[in-house]
């Protein structure tokens, strides 16, 4: 009921009287005497009255997160604020394609201006991992870190200090991880790491065939292929430079594209003429069978093999190796009595024998053909075999060193080289652990030696001098989210007697940030200077310009590390008198010494980008070695392509590290007896809506790509699970609850959870967001000690 006008006026005057009565009774100085804290609204310095007319400035920049695309971002800036983003609009040509942003690149305004950003330095007040923090000043934070770092170094020695693998600055020249290592190096040394979470197996295994990881060609050469095989490669979602663009261009000219993947990936849908589904961890069974077809039908390139390879058959084996160890011997089953026929393989990998036969024939007879390996299949228990198997297929068909072919393996190539800020020399030499084994080094570092992949131990020392005690996790989420087995990792981190200091710098409150003792607010790429390059095959560098001032109390890592260096008395040695911008200019000048076409700082600022036209710059890996073998040896021990590696043979572990690539039945693979308890294989994939774990908190991207698990119709039917339902996914390591997408775009018997979702355990430890690493294992691969995160067995039930 509406009140009468009279009532309302009456009420109003009553309220006003009460209001005045309150006002005259109040005596609290903070209320009557003005604002107690510092006034923030002040008289305008340039009292111009109203605002000046809009004066838009457009600065080009790029993110330096670990993204394969490294697109060009044009920030439209008004009055110190980014008001809009646009992307590359230059002329779009085959040699110099536009670097168009994908959905991730379009979400950056929400990244920079997200209200959830970390704003102030924080100190942990509850138990570690509990997520309770209190605001402190930068001075207090630096003071605490310096004190603790000194204490721990005195007590445990410099090898107890570790900068954890972090890729938030992976495209950068001033990465925070490197810069803290510089501080360590200036104050006694540190435990370093080798490998990466992305590519340990391929980076380690590829050189056993070719002596190098630089096995990629420029992408324009794909148009000269007759057949492109993308094996576990999904460039449409990972945005591998502009690989997707060039594969499309090749396809337009009539090149056939085959995708081999347990999932009908977006690449398979958008670019493939044929998709071949395969069970995870069984790629080498198919490769072995392809080799069987090529060998038994004599489709191999005999001249090429005789001239450039060792270990193909018994005739060209290195000395000191007994009979029956060559590739041909293994494939034909000379020793084990098992011929690796397509019929043998199809039972293992589920690819029909005639499909294998057909592909082997097409690949061997349609020269040149390009077999590009993705990095997914090497991130499994015996991922090294996948890498070596691909290189051997390329070698025996003579597809190495020729235009339109592809050497396979890691596929690195870089036309544009930037120069990183030097981090000095570690006084402890090159003492490193495989980056995947850092949790081991916290618990049992002093027991870890060569067999755990530790490198650089000084003479006479068998194991690491100390466990890890101080961890700096700067710009990364591998402190828990991206590392394997979240529950186990959390338990290790929660124990404050193991790692005694954990410093994290971050932009958001990530799962890793929750485990910080000191949590520092990092600025974003929009607020600092840097230079970004893309994943291989790299054809451009972008100046990451500072577009706006630091938000809140955030700082770039370089800024606060300089404060820390000052506190430790090494500021001069650390900065060498240079600011971030000075280092960018220095880096440009250094790069110009090696590449005179590299633009000057002023040119770079104007163009925003240095992109090399492919017109006259086609690069083909090993072209020299093939054209002129006399003067150009491969960088292997034999100087040839090593189908058989004597170095691997000498490791004397033929079951797990064979000297020729072989199918090794994987633990938690389809042949593991554990399938009785956990019958489904689980893999991850790099989802278009995230860059690893970055952007998981972006709601536009969640709409475009919700966090769901893929499951085949028949697996779902058996379990009475319907599309969109929440399911429990579990094994002995943990449990995840998340929605399911029922789709035949995944092979039966396998489920897939896109990697990178933020681990969100409830009070029972059950992850509610869908982080695959709740279920992955910390057991490393045998040779590289790399992560096996696509090797898992699970069961799924309705939640």
């Amino acid at each position: 009921m509406s009140k009468s006008l009279f009532d309302r006026i009456n009420e109003r005057s009553l309220s006003r009287r009460s209001f005045i009565k309150w006002s005259s009774a109040v005596t609290a100085p903070v209320i009557i005497g003005g604002i107690a804290s510092e006034t923030k609204i002040v008289d305008k310095v340039n009292a111009a009255g109203t605002v000046k007319a809009s004066n838009e400035q457009i600065l080009s920049t790029c993110s330096t997160i670990n993204c394969g695309g490294r697109c060009l971002i044009r920030a439209h800036i008004n009055d110190g604020v980014i008001t809009r983003l646009s992307t590359d609009i230059k002329e779009d040509t085959f040699e110099l394609p536009q670097l168009r942003a994908c959905i991730r690149g379009r979400g950056y305004r929400q990244f920079v201006y997200n209200p959830d950003r970390l704003k102030y330095p924080m100190k942990r007040v509850g138990k570690r991992g509990e997520g309770k923090f209190e605001r402190i000043s930068w001075e207090e934070a630096i003071e605490y870190i310096a004190k603790e770092l000194t204490r721990l170094t005195d007590k445990h020695g410099p090898a107890s200090r570790y900068s954890n693998y972090s890729t938030g600055h992976s495209g950068s020249i001033i990465g925070a991880g490197n810069m803290i290592q510089k501080i360590f190096a200036l104050t006694g040394g540190y435990l370093g790491y080798h490998n990466s979470y992305s590519s340990a197996q391929t980076s380690t295994a590829t050189p056993y065939t070719y002596g190098t990881t630089q096995t990629g060609n420029t992408l324009n050469t794909l148009s000269d292929s007759k057949l492109i095989i993308l094996w576990g490669h999904n460039p449409v979602e990972t945005r591998w430079g502009v690989t997707d663009y060039y594969v499309k261009k090749a396809k337009e000219t009539g090149v056939k594209v085959v995708v081999i993947d347990p999932r009908q990936s977006n690449t398979a849908v958008g670019l493939a003429d044929e998709w071949i589904p395969i069970l995870p961890t069984t790629d080498n069974a198919m490769m072995d069978a392809m080799q069987y077809v090529i060998i038994s039908e004599k489709l191999y390139d005999k001249n090429f093999i005789d001239k450039y390879c060792v270990g193909f058959d018994e005739e060209n084996m290195p000395e000191g190796v007994p009979q029956g160890e060559s590739l041909v011997g293994y494939i034909l089953g000379d020793k084990d009595g098992v011929a690796k026929t397509p019929e043998w393989a199809e039972k293992i990998c589920k690819v029909p024998a005639e499909t294998i036969r057909k592909l082997a024939r097409e690949y061997a007879t349609n020269k040149p053909s390009a077999l590009l390996q993705g990095w997914g299949p090497q991130r499994q228990a015996f991922g090294e075999q996948f890498v070596r198997g691909g290189t051997v297929l390329a070698a025996i068909t003579g597809n190495v060193g020729i235009r339109g072919g592809w050497a396979s393996g890691s596929g690195y190539i870089s036309l544009v080289k930037t120069t990183s800020v030097p981090k000095g020399t570690n006084p402890l030499g090159n003492l490193t652990i495989p980056c995947f084994l850092w949790t081991d080094a916290i618990v049992r570092g002093t027991e870890m030696g060569e067999k755990d992949g530790v490198k650089g131990l000084p003479e006479g020392q068998e194991t690491l001098p100390s466990n890890i005690k101080a961890i700096f996790n700067l710009a990364g989420n591998a402190l828990i989210n991206q590392h394997s087995d979240c529950n186990k990792t959390a338990e290790i981190l929660r124990n404050e007697n193991l790692a005694e200091l954990i410093v994290v710098s971050e932009i958001f409150m990530t799962p890793s940030a929750k485990f910080a003792d000191i949590l520092l607010p990092s600025n974003t790429f929009m607020e600092r200077w840097d230079i970004g390059t893309t994943w291989a095959p790299s054809q451009h560098a972008i100046l990451s310009q500072k577009c706006i001032e630091n938000m809140y109390e955030s700082k770039s890592d370089y800024e606060w590390l300089t404060m820390l260096a000052k506190k430790l008395g090494i500021e001069k040695e650390f900065t060498e008198g240079k600011s971030e911008l000075d280092w960018v200019k220095w880096s440009i000048e250094e790069s110009r010494k090696k590449d005179p076409h590299f633009p000057t700082f002023e040119e770079f600022k104007k163009q925003g980008i240095y992109q090399v036209s492919l017109e006259n710059n086609a690069v083909i890996a090993f072209e020299k070695q093939i054209k002129d073998p006399e003067n150009n040896k491969f960088e292997t021990p034999s100087g040839k392509i090593e189908i058989f590696s004597k170095a691997l043979w000498d490791m004397n572990n033929p079951e797990e590290i064979p000297a020729i690539p072989k199918y090794v039945a994987s633990w938690e693979g389809p042949e593991d007896p554990l399938t009785k308890k956990y019958p489904l294989q689980l893999i991850g994939w790099h989802y278009k809506r995230r860059c690893h774990s970055t952007f998981d908190n972006n709601k536009w991207l969640e709409e475009a790509g919700p966090q769901v698990m893929w499951m085949n119709e028949r697996d779902a039917k058996q379990r009475k699970i319907k599309d969109g339902e929440r399911v429990r996914v579990y094994n002995d390591r943990g449990e995840v609850q998340m929605p399911v997408k029922i789709t035949n775009r995944i092979i039966p018997g396998t489920v897939a959870i896109p990697q990178g979702a933020w681990w969100s355990p409830d009070d029972k430890g059950i992850d509610q967001r869908g982080n695959i690493n709740t279920l992955t294992s910390q057991r490393p691969s045998p040779l590289a000690k790399g992560n096996p995160q696509h090797t898992n067995l699970v069961e799924v039930r309705k939640a």
Binding site: S15, A28, M509
Partner: protein
Amino acid sequence: MEIQNQLFTTEQNQLLSARKKLYQLLHQLLSEPISFERFIEIKEQGYIDGLIELDNSVQILYDFFYCQDIDESIQKAREDFFRLFIGPDSLPAPPWESVYRSKERALFDFPTFEVRNLYNQFGLEVRKRENLHDEADDHIVFEIEFMIALIEKTQKEEERDVIIKLLEGQKMLLSEHLSKWVPQFSLDIRNNASTSLFIGIGYLLDFFTKFDCELVDDLFVSINNC
């Protein structure tokens, strides 16, 4: 001791003064976590019970100051403050206008520019530290501070035309900004706060910005007509 501006009636002067004080109370409680000293000062000299007559919901705020265990209540209120407005976790009640009015729910959207423009029209701006864009202009504390500045100017101003401008500024801030986002913001505070201090502030802020629209309207009408 109240400022008497000859262009206003006694009651109007009293209202201006009361408005300023109430905004100062809100400013104080929203700009920093409450300390023991502040708690005692507001409890003993803030006459919160007097505000209950204005709106019943203030009872909740009053309860906070008359709680059993003062130390524990203050500690909880401090935690609430950090959780609601500071972080490090995702903020349940982000204190910026842009978050509520932009489609992206991000900062530095059009409201930031609009209030910046408004501040500038009255010769004011958000203090900037060197190399630091520490805070967006449409933070609740800045909008309140701007209101206080305009009220103070109004109290002292002798020119009628200027007063009209100053009141227009206040109307503008209320109608084009505060009333467009404070209802949702204070609802977020109420729904997510776990202490009576902030649940109470959630009610008071919402109630008072509506009440103040009437007060400013009336002041505006009367100064225009005299």
